[in-house]
Symmetry: C2
Subunit: 194 residues, 2 copies
């Protein structure tokens, strides 16, 4: 897995560890997007879920969109992105759940039009980060509301030490993370061997 | 231009015209993303700006990210996306401008880290929609603050009748829009011949 090693190297060389167990990778994933690296990540995720008959990729705005697009392109399926609203005033055929953001310390509504996910779909959820799993749980709730099948989740960087990924795996949900950080101090990172 | 005809057909068949001159194309561009169509759009925009030595693509969250990614991938350059903040409490090396959103009827701050756009860059601004040009003017201001060169702007759908694109062209800024709507009533659309 040459590119996974590249991803880990990029996290080590460019990641910035901030107070509150925050890892910033704005130089290639979160604000500036390294298109070739993200494309390789999309290809790898598509390979992992090959044969699972995924019909749509679901992500959440904003920083999940690029990697989700790369996955959808590699799989030949559409991408749907959930929107975040601080107060919900959308009506009609919508799927919605509530997510608490530790980064922004507020609860927001996650919304997808019911036109775009239905009981006929098999959904792959894709996001850039997985920490405690709040955003992922909100997206899983939306898949469930739609009556769609969940193929699993695919994540660029999982902060394994925050437990969200392993909690989902313990529930029997397939979670594939391209890099899993098992330990993070002010100046060091340790990856889970995969 | 087969795919531009396809884009216009998709706007005609799937676009929803709402009060306030709002055009919703959530089924392939704004919430659900047709990955193949967006890739074709990215390839076409890359072709239009071939030879302009673009070093980075700049867009704004959220719905510009997918098409900007497709352009960056086709050009082999990184994408940077500006973030929207309702109140600015970011400090340090940042580039920022104010943008008024007619959709949300509020002014927000548009922010990019100064680490990702510098005086060495030649920037192509990419967005999904162009109406009065407020978001685009905000991004152009950021390019100017960085001392970077602006190659031009590339847009998926321009609402030509709202004048933003032609105002920028009159200032000498290159604006390429894949589809330009020159007239829109409650139940009809007319495209500018290109």
């Amino acid at each position: 897995m040459i590119f996974i090693r590249e991803l880990e190297q990029r996290i080590l060389s460019e990641g910035k560890i901030l107070p509150g167990e925050v890892l910033k990778v704005g130089s290639f994933l979160n604000q500036q997007i390294d298109t070739d690296l993200i494309k390789s990540m999309g290809d790898e995720i598509a390979r992992l879920y090959e044969g699972d008959n995924v019909t749509k990729v679901l992500t959440i705005e904003s920083s999940g969109i690029a990697i989700a697009f790369a996955v959808g392109l590699a799989m030949g399926v559409p991408v749907v992105f959930a929107k975040k609203h601080s107060s919900l005033n959308v009506t009609g055929n919508i799927l919605t759940s509530k997510v608490y953001s530790y980064t922004h310390q507020q609860t927001y509504d996650v919304v997808v039009s019911g036109d775009y996910i239905t009981g006929e779909d098999t959904i792959l959820i894709v996001d850039d980060f997985l920490a405690k799993g709040n955003a992922l749980n909100g997206l899983i709730e939306i898949v469930s509301q739609a009556g769609a099948k969940l193929a699993g989740c695919a994540i660029a960087i999982e902060k394994g030490f925050q437990g969200g990924g392993d909690a989902l795996r313990a529930e029997g949900i397939r979670v594939e993370s391209l890099a899993i950080i098992d330990r993070m101090t002010d100046d060091s990172l340790e990856f889970r061997p995969q």
